[in-house]
Symmetry: C2
Subunit: 365 residues, 2 copies
């Protein structure tokens, strides 16, 4: 047994072979991507790095390790034009904007970048889940030829989007899509068995970093609804977030208070969840936070009581689950399961999309 080389760069006819990248977002995910890139084994050059207030550029390539410190020392000031100019000046075969932010404003520019010929690779799911009109603009720009890499937007790179697109391209119609799309909600309901108050588990999940600093962002289900929209669209169904019936877990009385107040009063959730749990248990079921979509366009996100033979009943940890039932996977679904959050796997999903820009090499034996 011997190790095989990991990656061979694709060289274009004119001798250019590399990929120039501008990275937007130098936080947890952006930082993890820089560490992956620093390990080598690819042909990616970083020509710009930016956060919401600063940026640094170098068309010849920034050092992956030194770039964050350089960014921190840069003068305050942001200019997309200067970043895109660095891509143009790089002379690279491929020019890519990587969006590792969670900014709606940044997402609103994806379509423009695509239409100007830049590839976009994103962990930011706002554009791909945007309203139908905005999304059609994105899709039209992508259809004109620029690559839109969104593997990181759902399941942190678990291979569900690529699989749905492959099945759809093969004419295998989606019958139903079901799963647990949130690591934090997976963990909470995999652990909850009625013996410990839900609010206590919620505080533990927050302390572990499984939830957002404001856990209502997780509990409201909006992020899961966005993922469901992205998945349904990949399967050929042009649904909108407004088409998803979202059953949020935050009672009205806790929706408009500040985070500290919410955390102090999170115990108000306990009775609600305990009653749902007891009702499920009485039927021999367990509670799971499920997203479901069927070919008639029905889309739902919320708590569902499932039987012991349901794949979600056997989830552990903070695993995500995606069960795809199609015309050809009808008797039994195609199931993809595993960690669907975390900086390292999210950054790896971004890197995978960057490498997929040289598809001939990527698909090789």
């Amino acid at each position: 047994m011997s190790a095989l080389p990991k990656f061979v760069g694709l060289r274009l006819a004119d001798g250019r072979s590399d990929t120039a990248v501008v990275l937007l977002g130098a936080g947890v995910v952006g930082g993890a991507l820089l560490r992956l890139l620093s390990a080598g084994g690819h042909d990616v050059r970083l020509v710009g790095l930016a956060n919401s207030t600063r940026q640094c550029v170098d068309p010849t390539g920034l050092d992956f390790d030194a770039a964050p410190a350089l960014l921190a020392q840069a003068e305050v000031g942001r200019s997309d034009d200067a970043l895109l100019a660095a891509l143009d000046a790089s002379g690279a075969a491929r020019r890519v904007v990587v969006d590792a932010t969670a900014s709606a404003e940044t997402a609103s520019r994806h379509a423009d970048w695509l239409s100007r010929g830049y590839a976009v690779v994103t962990a930011n799911k706002i554009a791909a889940a945007a309203s139908a009109d905005a999304w059609r603009g994105l899709r039209a720009a992508s259809a004109r030829g620029a690559f839109y890499g969104d593997a990181a937007t759902v399941g942190a790179g678990l291979p569900v989007l690529a699989t749905l697109r492959r099945l759809h391209a093969c004419g295998d119609a989606l019958v139903a899509l079901e799963g647990v799309f949130s690591g934090s909600l997976s963990w909470l309901f995999n652990r909850y068995d009625g013996t410990r108050p839900f609010s206590s588990l919620l505080r533990e999940a927050r302390a572990w970093g499984y939830t957002e600093p404001d856990p209502r962002v997780d509990l409201c289900g909006a992020d899961v609804a966005r993922k469901l929209v992205i998945l349904a669209r990949a399967a050929g169904h042009a649904i909108d977030v407004d088409d998803v019936a979202v059953e949020g877990l935050v009672p009205a009385s806790l929706r408009d208070v500040d985070v500290e107040t919410f955390l102090a009063r999170a115990g108000e959730l306990d009775v609600i969840i305990a009653e749902r749990h007891a009702a499920a248990l009485a039927e021999g079921y367990c509670l799971r936070h499920l997203a479901t979509f069927d070919a008639n366009g029905r889309a739902h996100v919320g708590l569902v009581a499932v039987g012991a033979d349901h794949p979600a009943a056997r989830l552990s940890g903070a695993d995500n689950l995606f069960a795809l039932t199609t015309q050809r996977y009808r008797a039994r679904p195609l199931v993809i399961q595993g960690p669907g959050a975390g900086a390292d796997v999210t950054a790896q999903a971004l890197l995978g999309d960057l490498l997929a820009l040289a598809p001939a090499r990527f698909a090789a034996l």
Copy 2:
């Protein structure tokens, strides 16, 4: 909600946009592929169809539905040169040989086709699992640029090979690979609980078509070992079938008899399996037919007693299971599960590889 178009052909600069295909093998899988192609939604043209004794060619394109009857009426005689000439005469942008046979002789020609610039898309796993020397020739031919589509060789298109290659390309080292890679052996051990003789289940599996006509082909584990080799190679480990410790399920006394005799004497397996089952059960375990590979190169195929929390313990039907533990999926594996055999999904895996030849369109939103 509205339906989206399934596929947009990639047009090359010179106006050519289609894919010309020669299909070798007009049996169950080849026939299913022709039915998928007949449904349309792609830019594939069939310019040749062959079985082991006959062939028909038409560079302008054979009718997908009529081709099998045309083949049956053709004169006896086979010539690869004539088939490849039809690809050349087609004027198509992409020229592909699709191998839907199980022939070692056909597999031995994959490397030559690749080196002459034809793409190869295959359900035949013999070349990809061949001895290290032969495989290096295949890999070298593929590395020079021609596409080798092998999604159908493992799991009938479950997205495990593409996922392993993606993780490997991203530098995510494989720690362990484990799973149930055979639909027939999955079904047999998912069903076996000691109440009914193993040989009775085996006869039922054969009657359903889950096993080969000679079930020893399944029971010996050689096909699973080949899949393990293909998977390990996709993860960057150049192992050989000879490196796999295969624990076959056919006792020496039944290895050299004819099929009828084997079926008549299959009851000799019952005590062996019953004892293994009872020993596992005494520990609270269940028996599963597992393939395992670890980063130290240890490769094993055979019966393993697994605990109730093992993912294979919860399999049903004839599902395949692939659990990938890597440096970045270390605490919990990335799991892919579902039907891993059957003509329709195998044919769909071939079609997916054919469509992936136009990757820019395939990867688009």
